[in-house]
Amino acid sequence: MAVVLHLLKSADATFPREVIEQQQGAGDRVTVAVLPGVGAAAFPPGVTVRRLSSDLSYDALLELIFESDQVITW
């Protein structure tokens, strides 16, 4: 089981969502960090969604990056 962090900086979350669904199906632990300026996006249940500058600080984001096996920036 991998720990995966998605950094979402684009409004179109269609493909990231497809990837996340597959990762979840494989048992990966998925977190999405939404960067400022990106609107609301829906993710599958079980995904941890955090918004930078709102409920996620830059320090905490850095920790998340180091804790993750994979980091994907969209």
Partner: protein, 131 residues
């Protein structure tokens, strides 16, 4: 189609050597980013890295026969020729492959993939470049 995500030469991709996945969706007809992505991916293959190029949506036009309509068309022709020489295939989203018979006129190795397969490739990657 291979089971792994590997593309470029070297030791071969596998569980111990997962590839760098270069996922390109930028439109080379309107953006410099598609060419830049291919150039960067090519640079990564110069190291001992497996690189898996994946073209989705309008990025499939990186393989257009006529590069005159592409931003950075001359560079695209040059870089993709090098990718071909290295024997690195392009994985292209099935539904994005243009009907134009001139598409991929140079005969690059193309592996048509579904979006589900692309998601798998991402899951198997070690590092990711998304353009």
């Amino acid at each position: 189609m291979s089971g792994g995500a590997g593309g470029s030469g070297g030791a071969g991709a596998g569980p111990d050597n997962p590839p760098v996945v270069v996922l390109i969706s930028a439109d080379p007809r309107t953006s410099h980013r598609a060419n830049e992505a291919m150039r960067i991916g090519l640079g990564i293959t110069a190291g001992d890295n497996e690189v898996c190029f994946v073209l989705t949506g309008p990025a499939a036009h990186l393989l257009d026969g006529d590069t005159d309509d592409l931003v950075d068309g001359d560079d695209i022709a040059k870089f993709r020729a090098t990718v071909k020489e290295l024997g690195v295939p392009f994985r292209v989203e099935k539904t994005a492959i243009p009907d134009d018979p001139d598409w991929n006129a140079e005969g690059h190795e193309v592996i048509a993939v579904t979006r589900e397969r692309i998601a798998e490739l991402v899951r198997q990657g070690r590092r990711f470049l998304v353009f």
